[in-house]
């Protein structure tokens, strides 16, 4: 009787090959290894727990259907992350937040006060651990609009180039640069606010 | 053989037949389980095998056993078990390996379910428990 492969100790490329051949258990192992990452990426963009769960599940289904298109140009988790991101962007488009869009359009054409402010300096904070900083950044990200948060997530976390972001968001490179610039300034401003409020800086 | 002896013999045969048709006594375990995504330190978790079965079906990450009762039920008999302040069950040992389970809340019967229950399988009554958690009454038969 042939021995069952040791999925939990198998290397990723091997798991992918098995999954491509139709081995669901191999795919289940891939899901087990990367489900949190897929969820995190979806949550970073959508900021909604149940939507993020649904979209990450959908991404796994799509990944299974498209496995034959994966040739190892990027790592499997990176490839999966792209699928998650695309589904999130589709969802954002579907949601049609017209009011937010019109405010953003106004902001981008005339510029809110923040747009004309200088980029804040964020000096290293004594005693501010990495974990706490991540939490503060996460809280600040939540306050950005969908478009500005998305461009930050795609650039900083997904590590896409301007051109790739522009393609995914269906906009021009110039708009991507503009949004990224505004998002960074807004993030810096929000972070500084919370640090001042908590007495960590003056 | 006189008539009296024949009658006794017949009675014995008939009663022997009835005995053969009766259900054996059974042992049913009833667990009250709380399913939640929030970890609760200090609370008893359900056995791993049960957790695995519940987690395949339901979305919660943690399953805590709040109460457990073992009921030894003779044939055609009903036993009760109180599982919480206001919730209780009655379990009847019926023929052909069937059990009937009635769930009561605040003295009123909510539902009764009758089915055969093989050792190793579970009958579950469940519902929402607020704060995105659920209650489960999990019944299993050991013999």
């Amino acid at each position: 009787m042939p021995e069952e492969p040791a999925y939990s100790s198998a290397e990723e490329p091997q798991l992918v090959e098995w999954a491509k051949a139709g081995d669901m258990q191999a795919f289940e192992e891939l899901v087990s290894r990367h489900r949190d990452r897929a969820y995190v990426r979806a949550y970073s963009i959508m900021r909604n727990e149940s939507l993020a769960v649904d979209l990450s599940q959908n991404a796994w289904v799509k990944a299974w259907q498209r496995l034959e298109q994966f040739h190892g140009e990027a790592s499997f988790p990176t490839w999966l992350s792209r699928i998650v991101t695309n589904l999130c962007l589709d969802e954002l488009r579907r949601q049609k937040r017209a009011r937010t869009d019109s405010i953003e359009a106004m902001e981008e054409s005339t510029g809110p006060v923040e747009n004309r402010m200088e980029m804040e300096t964020l000096d290293p904070i004594e005693g501010l651990g990495r974990e706490e900083l991540r939490e503060r950044i996460d809280a600040a990200l939540a306050k950005l609009s969908d478009k500005h948060r998305t461009v930050i997530v795609l650039y900083e976390f997904e590590q896409l180039e301007y051109r790739e972001i522009a393609e995914k968001m269906g906009t021009s490179i110039g708009t991507v640069m503009s949004r990224l610039f505004y998002a960074r300034k807004r993030l810096a401003s929000l972070l500084k606010e919370t640090l001042k409020r908590d007495g960590l800086i003056e | 053989m006189n008539r009296f002896t024949i009658l006794v013999a017949l009675l014995l045969l008939v009663s022997g037949g009835f005995v053969a048709a009766q259900a054996d006594p059974i042992t049913v375990q009833a667990r009250l389980v709380h399913g939640t995504s929030k970890e609760q330190k200090g609370k008893m978790r359900v056995p791993a095998a049960l957790k695995k079965k519940l987690a395949r079906v339901f979305k919660w990450m943690h399953y805590y056993q709040l109460n457990s009762k073992q009921l030894n039920i003779a044939d055609a008999t009903t036993k009760s078990a109180k599982l919480s302040k206001t919730a209780s069950i009655k379990v009847t040992n019926r023929k052909n390996d069937k059990i009937a389970v009635s769930l009561y809340s605040k003295g009123k019967m909510l539902v009764q379910k009758t089915q055969s229950l093989r050792p190793g399988s579970y009958m579950v009554l469940a519902g929402n428990a607020g704060s995105d958690s659920a209650w489960f009454i999990v019944l299993s038969k050991s013999k």
Binding site: R134, F157 | A55
Partner: protein, 171 residues
């Protein structure tokens, strides 16, 4: 565009998106322009801050349940794909469109009866299952797991889980 085009170019330089002659010219300008150099430093600091800043999170449901949802969705999609792949005949075209639509209608009906916490499972009621409801007609759903290891009655009712501590002592 309201932002200074040069500021955006400084950002592009920090992000490695400005190359060749443009990048060289901007580097030269930074040496003499305090304002632009300061902006370059701030943007670089911001990038540094954002490196690895994505907050780790754990999927808010059990891994087993997550996988069961994924595998069921895969099976559904594959069944649908097989069904759609069949050549349509005079009678079959109706089945091709009616069945999926009926399936969607059933799903909508089922979902509209479900709580958000209801599991998504086939609804099977074994022939030896009998259910009797109280007069109050509490809504319920019943199903068996595929391997018949578990039969479930899900009630639209919340029971009190509080334990009677005295009773626990007496038990």
């Amino acid at each position: 565009m309201n932002e200074n085009e040069t500021e955006l170019k400084v950002q592009a330089l920090v992000d490695g998106e400005l190359t060749g002659r443009e990048a060289e010219d901007l580097h030269e300008r930074l040496e003499s322009d305090d304002g632009l150099r300061e902006l370059h430093e701030r943007l670089t600091a911001m990038r540094g801050l954002m490196t690895g800043a994505e907050l780790p999170r754990t999927l808010p449901e059990s891994g087993d349940f997550h996988w069961s949802q994924i595998s069921k969705a895969i099976e559904r999609e594959e069944r649908q794909a097989k069904h759609m792949a069949r050549p349509a005949s005079g009678a079959n075209w109706l089945l091709r469109w009616v069945l999926p639509l009926a399936g969607i209608a059933c799903l909508v009906l089922v979902l509209s009866l479900q709580q958000t916490t209801m599991p998504d499972l086939d609804i099977l009621l074994g022939s030896d299952h009998e259910i009797e409801l109280s007069e109050d007609e509490i809504e319920l759903m019943t199903f068996n797991t595929g391997d018949d290891a578990m039969s479930v009655v899900w009630l639209d009712y919340s029971i009190d889980l509080q334990q009677d501590s005295l009773q626990r002592w007496l038990d």
